[in-house]
């Protein structure tokens, strides 16, 4: 045992670790040692001088306290002996005149002692004791609170109780000796002093309790968010990565999968489709256009960049417009030989317009073989049937652009509201 070899504590320290070190060596709670120093400090600063001296003399401990020794029970004998030493020193100091007036000194000593008792941190008083099942069903916060209340060991309760009692005695004595109880008006002052004493005694315990609760709540919220993100990533990104691994020898397919996943993740992170509006509402022009472009990207090896201004409610005419857009996109993806196609959708006051643009090979319209009915039937025909028009601009060196126009004011979708 290294009880004689007192060292300054490295971890259990408030100032220089002197009290922690002495407490460790004497096997008593460091809080008591600190109180003793505080008491001695009252004696004209003797405690402060003693502390400074010890801080200089005692070597610093190199062994982490927790591994060096774990303090178990309060050793009554040790505490008693320590108290006797301190009391002896105090009496000695009183004899030498290093002393405040008696009527101040005597009440202050039990007050400090009580605070020391209540504040001495017994780690077991905050450990979570198993709580009944019904309590944990009410939520972790509640069960931990209950654990803090009911799980506090009886010894700790007794300790705090003793502390409170000592503080009250001290505060009362202080008030009485200073004549506070003499006048009725001053009785109020007396009880205020008492209450302040009690509040002071219990403060660390209450602070610890509320800190535990806040921490518990923060953790729970964080846990929920983590679970949500994890489940989303599992359903999307992880699945795609698995598929990609299985098709690693098909670069086209891998690129398409990666692109589709990128788009999906992006829409999850930033809102529906990068350009805005409500994500859940699949009955708008914007949502349907994005469904179509996703499909084209997945089918062909192209990237479709969509820019959209405004949005419209889906109706028969808009549906036809989307079908024509899809045909134009398919054409560009299949024949233009490009990696990117631009789509611009504009919902204006007097028309809905779609432009599908590629910088590909381009072609001369009259040279398109009659069996390629795509442009004639699917695009022009569809648009004309709903009263719209389609124009194709294409020339070598420029690429192609399909311009679809649907005149007339569109039905604007309702502004997204909080109600679903």
């Amino acid at each position: 045992m290294s009880a004689v070899l007192t060292k300054r504590a490295d971890e259990d320290r408030v100032i220089a670790g002197v009290a922690g070190g002495i407490g460790d060596a004497a096997r008593i709670d460091a809080a008591l040692v600190r109180v003793a120093f505080a008491m001695l400090a009252l004696a004209s600063g003797f405690g402060i001088a003693l502390y400074a001296l010890l801080a200089l003399l005692l070597p610093k401990s190199s062994v982490p306290r927790r591994t060096a020794r774990t303090r178990t029970e309060w050793d009554t004998l040790q505490v008693g002996a320590f108290a006797a030493i301190v009391a002896g020193m105090l009496l000695l100091l009183r004899k030498f005149g290093l002393w405040l007036p008696d009527r101040l000194m005597w009440p202050l000593l039990p007050t400090l002692g009580g605070l020391g008792l209540a504040w001495s941190r017994d780690d077991r008083s905050t450990t979570h004791v198993t709580t009944p099942e019904w309590a944990s069903r009410l939520g972790p916060g509640f069960s931990s609170m209950l654990g803090n209340l009911s799980g506090t060991p009886r010894r700790a309760v007794a300790r705090i109780g003793m502390g409170v009692l000592l503080v009250m005695v001290g505060a009362g004595a202080l008030a009485a000796s200073n004549g506070a109880f003499r006048a009725g008006r001053q009785a109020l002052v007396g009880s205020a002093v008492l209450l302040a004493g009690v509040a002071l005694t219990l403060a660390p315990w209450l602070i610890r309790l509320s800190g535990d609760l806040a921490y518990e709540r923060r953790e729970r919220i964080r846990e929920q968010e983590r679970a949500e993100i994890a489940s989303h990533l599992h359903d999307s990104v992880l699945q795609t990565l698995t598929i990609i691994q299985r098709q690693a020898n098909d670069p086209r397919r891998v690129a398409a999968l990666a692109r589709r996943q990128e788009r999906e993740l992006r829409s999850w992170l930033y809102g529906d489709d990068a350009t805005g509006r409500s994500p859940s509402d699949a009955v708008t022009l914007g949502a349907v256009v994005h469904a179509v472009t996703d499909e084209i990207e997945a089918t062909y090896d192209v990237r479709v960049e969509v820019v959209r201004v405004g949005d419209a409610q889906l109706d028969d005419r808009i549906t036809a417009l989307v079908a024509a857009t899809r045909e134009a996109l398919t054409n560009a993806a299949k024949h233009a030989g490009v990696t990117t196609v631009d789509v611009y959708v504009e919902v204006g006051k007097d028309a809905v317009e779609v432009f599908v643009r590629d910088r590909g090979l381009g072609f001369v319209l009259t040279e398109v073989a009659p069996d390629r009915r795509g442009i004639a039937e699917s695009i022009l025909g569809r648009m004309e049937r709903v009263g719209g028009s389609a124009r194709v601009t294409s020339r070598p060196g420029f690429g192609s652009e399909v311009h679809l126009r649907l005149p007339g004011p569109p039905t604007t979708p309702p502004e997204p509201t909080g109600v679903i």
Partner: protein, 215 residues
């Protein structure tokens, strides 16, 4: 030679951009430095005085927005081109209003990036189709309320036409040809739109951008 500085917190991305710019911008572009954090970037940009700074929108410690605001409030006359993976309207509008002269997505290919850098270096603006779309959408609302500045809060018919063509995926040269204008005139229109985007106080602009941040 245009002196270019790179600011991005992703090491791999900086490596990629550097090799791309070295290959495609040979003899036109010189990379004078790079930084991965906001504070280091601010310090080094002031020290090395690049012509163009490529800056990432999202970075810890205030992002590209803080880099731009801090550097521009000092003596430096560096021009900023924002690069981002985010197409969120709020981010794009914020970085432009901080003082960036252009915005391109990180999927841009090397040659286009070199051209964009050259354009920004000469004081012009670089608009991607998406940014043009944002402008059209944001300025499509009739300005309301007090303090409406006719000149600042609306687009001219010509500017609107230019923006529409850019949104359709047209390059400046193609826009010029389509509207029978010179490329210089197109550049002037785009710069004027950029100025409106940066200086307009119409509250719709900010509200519009925030509305589009859907969680």
């Amino acid at each position: 030679m245009i002196r270019v500085f790179l600011v991005d917190d992703h090491h791999l991305f900086r490596v990629g951009v550097k090799s791309e710019l070295t290959a495609k911008g040979e003899g036109r572009i010189q990379i004078v430095g790079e930084a991965s954090e906001v504070d280091a970037a601010i310090e080094m940009i002031e020290e090395r005085a690049p012509t163009v700074v490529l800056v990432d929108v999202h970075m810890p410690g205030g992002g590209g927005e803080r880099v731009i605001r801090t550097v521009l409030s000092g003596k430096s006359d560096a021009k900023f081109l924002a690069l981002s993976v985010s197409d969120a309207a709020e981010d794009v509008i914020a970085i432009i209003r901080a003082g960036a002269r252009g915005y391109v997505t990180k999927t841009i290919d090397g040659l286009e990036l070199v051209e964009a850098i050259e354009r920004v270096a000469t004081g012009d603006a670089v608009f991607s189709p998406r940014l043009a779309g944002f402008v059209l959408d944001a300025f499509s609302l009739e300005p309301t309320g007090r303090g409406v500045d006719e000149e600042m809060d609306g687009l001219t018919a010509r500017e609107r036409e230019v923006m529409r063509l850019i949104a359709r995926g047209y390059a400046y040269k193609e826009v010029a040809r389509e509207l029978v204008l010179s490329v210089k005139t197109v550049e002037t229109h785009v710069s004027s739109v950029l100025r409106k985007l940066q200086l307009s106080n119409r509250h719709e602009l900010t509200r519009w951008a925030t509305d589009r941040r859907i969680v």
